[in-house]
Symmetry: C2
Subunit: 568 residues, 2 copies
Amino acid sequence: MLLPTLREDPADAEIISHKLLVRAGLIQKAAAGIYSYLPLGYRVIRKVENIIRAEMNRAGAQEVLLPVVVPAELWQQSGRWEKYGKELLRFKDRKDADYCLGPTHEEVITSLARSFIHSYRQLPLNLYQIQTKFRDEIRPRFGLMRGREFIMKDAYSFHASPESLDAEYQNMRETYCRIFTACGLQYKIVQADSGNIGGSVSQEFMVLAENGEDGLLSCAKCDYSANLEAAVSHVDIPRGGQASPAVTEAVREISTPQRKSIEEVSAFLQVAPEKLIKTLVYYYKKNAREDYVVVLLRGGDQLNEIKLKNYLGADVVLPAEDSAVEKITGVEPGFCGPVGLTKARIVADELVKAGGAGVTGANKKDTHLLNVVPGRDFALTETADLRLARPGEKCPHCGAPLEAVRGIEVGHIFKLGTRYSEAMQAEYLDQSGVSRPFLMGCYGIGVGRTVAAAVEQHFDDSGIVWPQALAPYHCVVMPAAARDQGQLAVAEKIYQELLAAGVEVLLDDRDERIGVKLKDMELMGIASRVVVGKALSEGKVEFRLRQAKDNEMFPLAEAGKKVLERLA
Amino acid sequence: MLLPTLREDPADAEIISHKLLVRAGLIQKAAAGIYSYLPLGYRVIRKVENIIRAEMNRAGAQEVLLPVVVPAELWQQSGRWEKYGKELLRFKDRKDADYCLGPTHEEVITSLARSFIHSYRQLPLNLYQIQTKFRDEIRPRFGLMRGREFIMKDAYSFHASPESLDAEYQNMRETYCRIFTACGLQYKIVQADSGNIGGSVSQEFMVLAENGEDGLLSCAKCDYSANLEAAVSHVDIPRGGQASPAVTEAVREISTPQRKSIEEVSAFLQVAPEKLIKTLVYYYKKNAREDYVVVLLRGGDQLNEIKLKNYLGADVVLPAEDSAVEKITGVEPGFCGPVGLTKARIVADELVKAGGAGVTGANKKDTHLLNVVPGRDFALTETADLRLARPGEKCPHCGAPLEAVRGIEVGHIFKLGTRYSEAMQAEYLDQSGVSRPFLMGCYGIGVGRTVAAAVEQHFDDSGIVWPQALAPYHCVVMPAAARDQGQLAVAEKIYQELLAAGVEVLLDDRDERIGVKLKDMELMGIASRVVVGKALSEGKVEFRLRQAKDNEMFPLAEAGKKVLERLA
């Protein structure tokens, strides 16, 4: 067998799952973000795949396999050929035709449905695949967590009515719960942003882990949880807002020499940060058209760029360069404000409106304005929720405080609606004979990520502690002294007995010190071990579960039976 | 379910498996040589994969999964980055680094072994994977038979001795026999050329089929079979060769105005074609060096370019352009000959030597030479078997006549030796502590090709007739009149009964005419059918195996049991 373990963490590994998966010999890096799965690692991958496959089949979905190499034409039809960034690996074949490596397969499946589904009578339909995909991440890292080549289960459903889509979305939501529960993982379902997949509603399945890549806000009381990207919160606006005496006062300039940041202005003027109106200028690109937008936030708040991007329907949003800021506001960043601004569209966070009078930049160097009332001193035609929600703020559902949690996204379910079917003219005839675009849903699970997340959630100082369903082997049998033929013969006998009983078992007959062998097996997370050692003279063998503290002694004659009992 | 059948053959389909796999709704073309596997097709693919997996595991091989996207560096180390033609799809990632889509994985696995295997004690080892690969065929066609994207099982073994490699090669040979037997296929094992994989010994597993892509020569008596590319045959040289009177005569020029081809010269001079010595000029490229070689064959024989390529150790061989021929021989093609030739290396087929005196071109327009004796009138330092063997010639083992057969290559096993380990410095320490390159074997099975080959071997006028082990479903149950609720209820009951008994069964409740439904099921090759129709009034249902001619009538109460009996 090839079970290579390493004593040292790989130099590029920052997180525990990356370190342990490499050290325990489950994966090997082939290039940045590209891994080989070694025998032990692929065993775990296949356990996850089989759980997924069983549950997807049970849910009525049908397995297909779509191409890895996708013709550009399909992505051009959906419009994503232009919109998707450099993460889409594009190339030409020997005949100079354009292709990409599929990072996701909405286009291919929509084209497939377009060919074969002509009538409402063929709907609904849910097709899934388990496939190696590629996304050319600019900074691949964290081992299987953010690789470029990755194994994914992606499912796509087609419907003739919103009710049917809702029902399948719910079906998949429940199926995903069964899958992650069967994998033995603790997870949360959170509200999510739909990113460059598109669609209106989406939820992520997050495996909870201290070092999770994603920040979440989770209600302590109800079941509201959201990715920070998408989190919404309620904030009480303190009195002194629109109803305060200040509202009646006129706008007044005040000198604020070299005070640019919210902190500086707040301290200098002795005004609470939330009474400042922060003015940001953003560049955005929408359907190949470029423009700028001025964003207003309360001083203490941070912009959630994803919310801005979604609000604008933009493909890209980026902070404007200083030169653009000066062109639009007439002043360097730090002294900008909405009053008198005509050169760009203005969008205010909804709390700016609710917050009433405040302090803003005067669009004049070293100067701010007091008593600026939104709607009175500048037009306030566009308001939206643009803030990054924060822990401690109130749950939008029940008002209880939100808590910060970290998670790893292992699944994502989307209601796509007609995003792809309209663009690609994928239509069916409804009951009245009218042509309509399919309503679609899509549902993904990162297979490698699920394995990595399982490690992030289940490890100790000695190595991986797999959930039972994912453990690559359930038992290892080893002689304490590999060259002791008596011990070896007994170990082999117990091994054969367990094998015959259907246990996934290893015989470790390597000529290594017992300490090395035990360390290896703990590192790999083999669920239990039988050591045939000194006690053999008393007719006994040692047994220990991976997480137990002490050995148990089993009489030789009952060893197989006892191990089976403990593993059950 | 998505089971789309087509009435018409696809326009680009030339062979039966391509036609039937598309028409029966198993695959759909996404681009030239790139297919999606639909639910029924992927079911068959997975049956083949599972047979392969079970047998490979049984043989002691371990499953891994290597990257699809392979860094150029590894292919540069093996030297194949330069040598492999345009079939290797090369591209750059966003950081401008070179990669290719792996068409085969010797480099990746050798690099993996180099990292992890340090001692003879870790050998032998056999690692395999089942993976989607890509080869940018210049003329993709025949559906799954010669696609660009394809699913392959590839295994690689590592050894410390030739005996160990021999044993594993034999183990894989037997494993492949078990796999193709389990798939229900008739096949032959044939001697093969190793192509651009390299190595010394290789054999192909050929599924026999009338329209097979490969020509084979097969001995009627013993077990010798070979791909035409590699076939060797014995030919008796008729008397009148070296021992004939003509040998003593001197070379003499003869005018042969405008007679260029073997046929023309043979007819004009009234000399049997095999007494002519055909002179060909070939261009070849070896390790980036280009050169020409003059090849001599008996007039009636054809050059086997693969044999020439292997003899020269060349990367490419191509017929020389006319201008090159004139430069080397001083005359246009048709009048060339070896006498007096000094501008290129000369290689003669071994039958040229054995054949004795003959007629050749005179390197002078419209002129040939009579009585040319190889070795006397021109130097004959290099001879080799360069001929294309022909049906009717003698088996090299037993002398019985060889027969022409056609086959489809579904598996290929190679002794690679140290081809990759030397180039990539993949070494282990032997028992004496000396560093040595691994001896390697490699073993491939085309999964999609196996499915296509099964169809080529098993079909009739109505569609596919799957071997039992590959049939996507074993039974379909259908009401004769879909809207007859009584029939439907009975059909559903039988369906549920079969499902519960573990039968892979379909319920065809589509509102289509029974004729259409029966045609579909025969096209798809569902192994049997139960029709709930008119006979229901007598308490009976119809049953028919896919290949039976007549219906059987089963009493309703025993229907499930009877179907199980027939399928057993």
